[in-house]
């Protein structure tokens, strides 16, 4: 079931030559939670994400999603295991429309329905129904991210905030159990940030676009967003975990204040 898939990150280390970007980090992200990973620039947050989502192979340590050992899977299998992600520097298919972006995200399902392309070319009857269903799912996510009126526009022509939302919609169209967001609020104005918080909560609770509830792993610098929606926060500094707890605990943690929040957080 969707519920009950816990992400366990166990002593993950990632080295680039002499540089240890992630240093023995452990934490668990409970199902149905929004777990935030914060830390100063260069702390190793994105690198940790890349290990979880299969873009890097961790130098050591284990990453388990439920019973699945993510650290052993090749890159494209991670998505099939139920992990979806967005990128710090947006990576949309800029020359394709929003709708096409969301259909590419459902590639696996559609490929299976089209007999890996052969049946679809010959016009077998199972494919059109599968495509209709995929379009409906895409439409639901476009609506949930307030992009329905831009459905037929090129993704590359959208304003920045809309591109961020589209990337989230695209990730969700893969039908994930765990959504990894890398700085989704970067570059958004306060109103857009608030809407984003709403959206992420709805994704966690399974109230967006009729999808199942989905755990969220969130990297974010915007403390308003992080403190507002996180159930649990993991703090990294120089690759190591320096604190972990609820927003209230993190706010009061002297290590965190020293490393990071001190200069950023007024309250």
């Amino acid at each position: 079931m969707t519920q009950g898939t816990r992400l366990v990150v166990d002593a993950v280390t990632m080295r680039f030559g002499g540089l240890t970007a992630v240093d023995g980090v452990s934490f668990t992200a409970e199902p149905g939670d929004i777990t935030a990973v914060i830390g100063p620039n260069g702390a190793g947050k994105t690198t940790l994400f890349n290990c979880i989502t299969g873009f890097y192979r961790a130098s050591s340590g284990r990453i388990m999603l439920g019973e699945t050992a993510l650290h052993r899977l090749p890159g494209h299998r991670i998505a099939l295991a139920g992990v979806a992600r967005t990128f710090q520097n947006i990576r949309l298919f800029g020359g394709m429309t929003c709708l096409e972006n969301l259909l590419v995200a459902q590639h696996r399902r559609l490929m299976a329905a089209s007999w890996f392309g052969i049946g679809a070319v010959l016009g077998l009857s199972r494919y059109p129904a599968a495509e209709r269903e995929a379009v409906e799912r895409a439409r639901a996510w476009l609506e949930a991210t307030d992009l329905l009126d831009r459905a037929d526009d090129a993704a590359g022509s959208l304003p920045y905030g809309a591109q961020r939302r589209l990337e989230i919609a695209r990730a969700m169209c893969t039908g994930p159990r765990l959504l990894c967001l890398d700085e989704p609020a970067a570059g958004l104005n306060p109103r857009e940030s608030a809407a984003l918080s709403q959206l992420v909560r709805a994704i966690r609770d399974g109230t967006a676009a009729g999808a199942d509830p989905c755990s969220v792993l969130l990297i974010e610098h915007d403390m308003g967003v992080v403190m507002g929606i996180s159930d649990k926060i993991v703090v990294l500094d120089h690759g190591a975990r320096i604190a972990m707890g609820t927003p209230a605990e993190i706010r009061a943690d002297p290590n965190v204040i020293a490393a990071y929040l001190g200069e950023d957080e007024p309250a």
């Binding site: 992600r85 429309t97 096409e100 459902q106 590639h107 490929m111 890996f116």
Partner: protein, 426 residues
Amino acid sequence: MNGAALKDATLCAAVAAVLFVPVVGLRTAPGPTGPLRIEPHFGIVAVLVGLVLLGRLAIIAWQARRRPTAAETPRRVARVMARSGRYVAPALLALAVLLPFLPGTGRYELDLGILVLTYVMLGWGLNIVVGLAGLLDLGYVAFYAVGAYAYALLAQEFGLSFWVCLPLSGLIAGMWGVLLGFPVLRLRGDYLAIVTLGFGEIIRIVLLNWTNLTNGPNGIGGIPRPSFFGLPFSSGGEPGSFAHFFGIEPSPVQRVIFLYYLILALALLTNWVSIRLRRQPLGRAWEALREDEIAARALGINVRNTKLTAFALGATFGGFAGAFFATRQGFISPESFTFSESAIILAIVVLGGLGSQLGIAISALVMIGGFELFRGLDEWRMLVFGMAMVVIMVVKPRGLVGDRTPTIALGTRKAIGGGLVGQGQG
């Protein structure tokens, strides 16, 4: 602005001068006493350099005038293109179908038509690899060669008929596509281009040197001509031949017309498969890879296998075209499969507009047909031709049809400007 333009143009003129002095300015001619001597022709050089200077200035002025309206022009052009595009494609298709029966169409026109259609088909085949999947393949001619040799050898050694050999040749070429693609498709961009270039040359050199099988540089002759589903075309009109069966006068043009429709059908098959696949998950995955490979992988697309399907499918169509080439010529040799063939096919795809079926057809018509048109210009032909290509790329940097049409829409399909569409990094 004006100073910069002048500087730019002067620089171009200087480059032109350096190029033209040895190429055009100095010619060898037999001297009065016998031995060759070098004759200077600096007048022509001065004219050419002047032309380059003025041309460059004109381009700069034109671009400066165009820039302020850059935002609206493409949209206007796009709309016009989209509207006319709806009629251009059917018109071209009708012309292609009716060509053999148009008044004034003789043997020469038909042969030219066959040549153009062969390149249209090759362009469409390569378009799957370069235009859709964004894999820069500089060795496409290798699969053309594999198809041609597969056809020639199967037909000669095993006496198989054309209709058996044709799919087999495509299959063999496709297999070679997988074989070559498997190790190299992890490379990207320039590296992939270099390796495919190398493969193109390797295949040609193997064909040259594997004399037992391929007869080396002498090539393979006497390749069986295609039959009309078992009825041979013969000039005698004896029982069992095409002309006898249909009760018409035997004429050599019948075979040419048959070949013409054969390549037309093959090209349209390529077109149909490409158009259809583009609207399927596989085609969308190709385009997604072209746009952003990393994002595609994060969505669960198996990058290597998806690239491999594009490579293999492109190779298959190249193989079909090769088989057709072999049966039409009746003779093949490694000469026909040099790098310049790959370059021409790639130029057709790029000039036509990556990913655009219509653009590629037009550009094959312009490039191959136009080249024939300029036959009267003798040695200036290449120059005119090169100039035409440069002009196209300056005026329409994304090719004749640079816009991308979405594969699906909730409302109406809007053409996507070429500037937004990725060109693939490998």
